[in-house]
Assembly symmetry: C2
């Protein structure tokens, strides 16, 4: 991993004034990549800066930015395919364009004026299960005596997800229908899910990857990660309970997965690398192929906010229902990448790996309602006087994430938002 | 589904003589679609006829064939996106070009002179588990008292597979490494799989599909299936046993999946539609959304052949180790499609749905070694005097499939071939 450079200097400011505001998700130290679409134009790669977007295609065509040509694409895939060194060089070039002492460019578009796309053509989507706190709480309901399967602390458990139904923040999510089965009932029923849930996750877009048959050593795995976004892995718990054995979740998840539109690069996350929270004294050491760098974790705080129609009607802001640290995960992103490729599976630029629900040890850090409201037994109380065990039609879930560390400028992920519409 | 037409007439012959030979997989009644590549040309869509390929791009450019433009693509995706009626019209037009009384065209390429590609850009790959005989035999080893989970006879169980590692017939398959755990051992080990298996399946390439949020009624599901191919869902049983709980198979499958290159269209399969083998008297009727047409099954015979290096050295042909009927599946392709979209999941042209291992009730019809050799306990005997419990390096697995019915011309799938290379 490359070292810190001048783009991480907290004194660095931009000529885009909104980027210098305290609490902005997108100061010049961040520079996340995304794909935007204004009413008339084709999809365009941009960089978020304050409340604006720098249009990279326009920068290239005006020769304000000299390559790479991949900046002119309609998705981030070609950019993601670049070696880590070239991606870092692009960051430096963009920061040089936006720093306070640089010439003002006219290639800005207000974020409020455009729609965002899913930033890459996602070839394959893999969802991990890397929070031991989440896995333990979920497992305890099914197997109180041994909540974790014996494999959990040896390998990063994961499953293949559905790529076609990944949507960008803001897309309405229709309540899925499916088969559910009440305990003891003679037959299942088909109808709308009554246990609709969210899961707050961090997703990682992959870079170069490798050919079929090649593994990726854990020491170089970070070079194959381009950056991170928020993921809402919507889950229909009642469908899931009936369908998941023996091959895992399928229709309980595949109706929609929402991601935030901005890819916060690994370079921007560099100051926030840190060791994961210590494992338990009896936990096994990772096998050699997974024994990664000690600072392989990322200090990302993940928050979930909920807003009901009644709250909206009464002008109440969304209420935060959980906050968790990504350092409480059991596996690092590098370990996930290395495990994924350890059998020779080829990873491709634009593939998305999600972490699994980000939950910490505290109840308030539980990143899904199944945990947070104890599978419906302890509905959470909202400021409107309402309670929620699971999501109702009209509810809006907003996820936010940020990195903050003494001596560095806070950077944010923007938001990952979705509202539930009726079946 | 459209009715039989003159292209299904067994008296129909082609001016491509090799197509008229008894036992040819590709008579004029078949006309499967594929993508081939000669040394200098870019990927090209073609139709198999006897031992030749009709180059559709050349036909279009010479105006021997009048559209659709999608025939000029480098993958079948745009063709697959066409409505079923247009795909049928294309079949009729191609058959008219190739029938014995038509003018000879020069747009033929010998199959032996080209390499085949995976025929479509596969957005998502889904693998079902639709053989009750397979599920029962596999389940019996883990849960003798109740081999099938309670959901099995109510819904077509499936999981998302890995699209990136789908390769075309003939591609060598590297033995994967991964974590395995011996019963009672204090820790797992990382190393090459010692229980490498094949699974013989039928895959279905999807057509138009629909937008996110829309379901597909079972009565119209067949219009969203373009055609079928063979699938070898290579499986590392020892990796699978350790990793699969609770989220299903992952690295045990994602190292490679081999498919045959020719897409046998649903129009070609029309004469071979038939009811599935009767369900048991106590089996439940499908829920209304899955209650499909009575002839939703396909009379496809699936064969697996094995060849070891010793057999090759001694000039012995591959030996058939199993033969199964696709009518012994528990669910039809239409039911799989409808269930898949029942939660609103969007299916896209070029998506691949595989059936799961095709196994029948007889021991000789078991489509994987786990069943066929009783999980290693009863290795199968080969004509070379060797025995096989699982695959060894150098072994070649060849799958073949065909449809035969009195009064119709036999059609074949070609072969799905893969050889195991060392780790």
């Amino acid at each position: 991993m490359s070292a810190l450079d001048w783009t991480h200097d907290p004194a660095l400011r931009s000529w885009v004034e909104s980027a210098n505001a305290a609490g902005s998700d997108f100061p010049i130290q961040n520079l996340p990549l995304g794909v935007f679409r204004s009413r008339t134009a084709r999809p365009t790669i941009g960089v978020a800066i304050g409340d604006q977007i720098l249009d990279l295609r326009a920068c290239i065509e005006a020769r304000d930015l000299h390559g790479p040509e991949a900046c002119r694409g309609e998705t981030l895939n070609a950019l993601m395919a670049l070696p880590a060194g070239e991606r870092r060089a692009l960051r430096l070039a963009i920061a040089a364009l936006l720093r306070a002492d640089a010439r003002r460019l006219e290639w800005l578009v207000p974020q409020s004026a455009v729609e965002m796309d899913v930033p890459a053509r996602i070839g394959d989507y893999t969802d991990f299960y890397a929070s031991v706190h989440h896995a333990t709480r979920v497992g305890r309901r099914l197997r109180p005596e041994s909540p974790l399967f014996p494999n959990y602390k040896w390998l990063p458990v994961a499953y293949h997800g559905r790529a076609s139904s990944i949507v960008v923040s803001g897309t309405p999510v229709r309540r899925p229908s499916g088969q559910t089965h009440a305990d003891g009932a003679p037959a299942p029923l088909f109808g709308p899910s009554r246990r609709l849930d969210y899961e707050a996750e961090i997703g990682f877009f992959l870079g170069p990857g490798g050919p079929l048959g090649a593994s990726i050593p854990v020491g170089s795995a970070d070079a194959h990660i381009v950056g991170a976004c928020l993921v809402n892995d919507w889950s229909a718990r009642d469908l899931q309970k009936w369908e998941y054995q023996p091959l895992g979740p399928f229709l309980a998840k595949s109706f929609a997965t929402t991601i935030s539109p901005w890819v916060v690069t690994m370079e921007a996350l560099l100051p926030f690398r840190a060791p994961l929270s210590p494992r338990g004294p009896d936990d096994p050491a990772p096998l050699p192929y997974l024994a990664g760098a000690p600072d392989g974790g990322l200090g990302i705080t993940v928050e979930v906010y909920l807003e009901t129609p009644a709250m909206r009607d009464r002008g109440m802001p969304p209420v935060r229902v959980s906050t968790a640290s990504f350092l409480d995960m059991y596996w690092t992103p590098a370990q996930m990448v290395t495990h994924h490729a350890s059998n020779g599976c080829n990873l491709r630029p634009g593939d998305l790996l999600a972490s699994g629900t980000v939950s910490g040890p505290a109840e308030e850090s539980a990143g899904c309602l199944l945990e947070r409201a104890s599978a419906g037994e302890e509905p959470i109380a909202l400021p409107s006087g309402e309670r929620r065990a699971f999501l109702e039609d009209g509810d809006t879930v907003v996820m936010r994430a940020f990195c903050a560390r003494e001596g560095f400028t806070r950077i944010g992920f923007g938001e990952c938002r979705g509202s539930v519409v009726g079946p």
